[in-house]
């Protein structure tokens, strides 16, 4: 008999991939998400850069869809009525750097608590939870491992830390069969917020600057993961008994930011200049840039608009985010995209076909 899974956030970018992957692996899948009209309640949908809602995709896959709002516990029992899940993949999250703390707390923290409470009542087999590598913040002794302490650098990451704490507490006290995946920034078909933001901004600027840092020990890294590797890892871990009670970083082998940027400029067909910079001078000017972006963020909020670049995204160009995927590899998982350039090349072609990039 086929196993059954519940996927939350099933109409989102990662959720659709999780559903697709489970179907291909022969699972029966129930997808849940907000009703389409309710999406805008939590997301700022101004401009091109916000997560998309893919209800048609689910329908075309023939997946059962049961709408629910995780922040409203009374909407959750229908998800479990008459169904026993071998695994819940809790993908749903408000991933929006523009969101305020109240909304993040309500959706990410309380939403996870409500879902996990219902899952415990229903006796779910496994609970695979989506967190983020952002819970670590800047890594002091790179590459960071799953044992590094929490140090969230922004509101979104802070909400993911609080979310994890709620679930780890339920794991300790109520034996929630929890596995936490901590993905690096995700990209892949249907993705429209995060890594896409970088590609979009580079193409909108039209000319690149490839910064290299001196002394070279300050070279920054860029962690990322292809969505197919992420959902593959999630299913792989859901089927491994020893993964219960464990957290795993899920990311490709990390490459340096200059290597990544050189690749992106070439792939996007943009002319660029190399700019070697003394690290202290770079930090100084990056701090000025960060303050300018903060000012633009405040101005955009006053006008009811979204800034071109969200503030936390600028921190990626000033902080060291370098994580290890060794624990996942040691568990036996093989990445389809160990070098992010291969996956990004495919993703850029996918975006071009749809006019998301030129």
């Amino acid at each position: 008999m086929a196993k059954r899974a519940l996927v939350t956030g099933a109409c989102g970018f990662t959720g659709t991939h999780m559903v697709e992957h489970l179907k291909q692996a022969g699972w029966d899948v129930t997808g849940t998400d907000l009703e389409k009209g309710a999406h805008g309640v939590y997301y700022c949908e101004a401009g091109d850069l916000h997560p998309e809602y893919y209800s048609d995709f689910l329908r075309n896959l023939g997946v059962e869809f049961v709408p629910a709002d995780l922040t409203k516990p009374e909407t959750l029992p229908p998800l479990f009525a008459g169904r026993t899940y071998d695994a819940i993949f809790h993908v749903a999250s408000l991933y929006d750097y523009f969101a305020t703390w109240d909304v993040l707390q309500q959706v990410n923290v309380e939403g996870a608590r409500n879902l996990a409470t219902e899952a415990l009542k229903a006796g779910v087999g496994r609970f695979v939870h989506w967190s983020t590598d952002g819970v670590y913040g800047e890594i002091k002794n790179p590459p960071g491992t799953e044992d590094d302490p929490y140090d969230p650098p922004n509101l979104y990451s802070k909400s993911k830390v609080e979310q994890e704490k709620v679930l780890w507490d339920l794991h300790q006290r109520e034996k929630l069969p929890l596995t936490v995946v901590r993905p690096a920034p995700i990209y892949g078909p249907r993705h429209r917020y995060g890594v896409y933001h970088i590609l979009y901004a580079l193409q909108k600027m039209g000319t690149g600057v490839l910064v290299t840092w001196y002394p070279k020990k300050h070279t920054l890294m860029f962690p990322s993961v292809h969505v197919r590797d992420l959902v593959g890892a999630a299913l792989f871990l859901a089927e491994k008994e020893e993964a219960v009670g464990q957290a795993y970083n899920v990311l490709s082998d990390t490459i340096t930011q200059p290597d990544l940027m050189a690749f992106l400029y070439e792939a996007l067909g943009l002319p660029y200049v190399r700019l070697p910079v003394w690290w202290p001078a770079y930090k100084y000017f990056a701090e000025i840039g960060l303050n300018i972006v903060k000012g633009l963020d405040a101005k955009a909020r006053r006008q009811g608009l979204r800034p071109k670049i969200d503030v936390p995204m600028v921190e990626y160009i000033t902080h060291q985010y370098w994580f290890s995927n060794q624990k996942l590899k040691n568990a036996g998982f093989q990445l389809a995209y160990p070098d992010p350039r291969k996956g990004l090349w495919e993703y850029i072609a996918w975006c071009r076909e749809r006019g998301w990039l030129e």
């Binding site: 000319t207 006008q303 006019g355």
Partner: protein, 124 residues
Amino acid sequence: MNVWVWDIPVLFLLGVVLARLYAKWLVVKHPDFFSHAGAIVVAVFWLNVLAGAFGARPWCGAVHAVRHISGWLGLFLALSYPLWFQFAAERTFALLGRRPTQGGFLWPFTVKDRTKPFQPPWKT
């Protein structure tokens, strides 16, 4: 050789103006415009310098502030004209974008987006 002292600033200004004109309105339908315009502008300036080399007053005497530059120095100055034009155009492209869909380095520092949206390549 007699040259007008404002030759290079004017070339620079023309580089800026033509680059902006090209990127904003002409690049899609007339992709060769910038190359042709640049060649014509530089050719006109060189013809003027050539006339100056034979003792004529620059720009048919319509301008003042004329200086005499001798020998090789004058030749190198004239050879640098396309570089000044190109330098100005490149800075303009980088700062303001190369196509109507681009906003250049200034794009992230504005709140309202005045660039055109991207389209699939077969629609452009």
